[in-house]
Point group: C2
Chain length 198, copies 2
DNA sequence: ACCTGAACACCGTTCAAGT
DNA sequence: ACCTGAACACCGTTCAAGT
């Protein structure tokens, strides 16, 4: 057991998030609880509530880290800035699918929370999400000067690739008629862009 | 408390599913438990385990009913058989979005379960899902004679509309740039089909 | 044979009490 | 001031025991 003063509030905060990530990676959403996180960092359950509002708050913070991680993973696999939209989008969607596969427990957690009606995620969270969307928008930017149209297309395509990804990760791929998620995303993106370009 | 012999196994089964549906509709996935279902039908928790393998099994059966319900809701709003694919698809996607909105708790439950690796849903469940896909395939059938291509396109479009729907229901719509789910689905379908037709 | 009810091993959350 | 640990009100699941 840690004694008082051993760690600052900020340290306990960080330790708890680290431990939560490890637990989620190891056992998924199921084998993860406030009590396990607490004991993994050598503290009592009660201590967590000095540092987090509740378990949903802790999960939100974990999700924030995942969004950062995802952003960097996508950025790394992003093509050159001169790429045509199709090449750039395919690179992004493949990277997204690869991330979801490689980090499926935390990726799942990202979308599991069914928000209560009317409460949006906090600003800092939305900013992290916006940064991910930004990559998609950047890939689309050569298509048109209309910024709101780019925004709309980016959101539609991202939501769509996400839906395809869900089918794969949630093991519903038998329903995909033998296609891989990558093939499905390619079919989507190629045809959409051909139609969009007119 | 119900006395032994009051109800057959099949009756208890049905009563439990009815009660579960009511609880889910009223309180969502959160306010739903084996103990609540049992007490809602006047039995002890243990009794549920005579009729269901476990709670996941009960949820699967509830989901089966939801898939049937969804199928009929989509069928009802399906256009005429002579409709062109675009009209038919837009009708289906709008009906899908409307269903998700109207029945969001059970619709959410349909996709919450993170399947363990390698275990597919049972055959009867896949058949119910296949019936829903069948509607999408029927809408696409005028596009080409190639049955596997229709299957692939149907799955890609369905997964995509589903992803868009998720954004709306999970209250992430602030990320959709003010677009409604219906508008997003329309943007997707119109451009995809224009591209697909070449 | 059918169902109970108590037990087991867990939960999230709170908060008086200890150091 | 910081943290504990016990309490509260729950969980899913099992299974000896009652009728």
């Amino acid at each position: 057991m840690a004694r008082r003063g051993d760690h600052s509030r900020a340290e306990i905060h960080r330790m708890a998030l680290d431990a939560a990530e490890r637990l989620i990676a190891a056992e998924g959403d199921r084998g993860f609880s406030a009590r396990k996180v607490a004991s993994a960092i050598g503290y009592t359950v009660g201590t967590l509530y000095l540092v987090f509002e509740n378990l949903d708050d802790l999960v939100l913070q974990v999700n924030g880290r995942t969004l950062d991680d995802l952003f960097y993973a996508l950025q790394k696999r992003q093509g050159a800035t001169g790429d045509d939209p199709e090449t750039a989008l395919l690179a992004l969607s493949n990277a997204y699918i690869a991330y979801a596969e490689a980090e499926s427990p935390r990726w799942n957690m990202l979308f599991d929370a069914v928000a209560e009606k009317g409460d949006n995620p906090p600003d800092w969270y939305q900013q992290k999400l916006g940064r991910v969307f930004g990559l998609v928008e950047a890939a689309l930017s050569p298509l048109t000067q209309d910024a709101t149209e780019i925004q709309r297309v980016a959101r539609v395509l991202w939501a769509s690739v996400h839906g395809i990804c869900l089918l794969k990760i949630r093991q519903r791929m038998n329903l995909a008629g033998g296609q891989s998620a990558e093939d499905m995303a390619r079919l989507l993106i190629e045809n959409f862009l051909r139609g969009f370009r007119g």
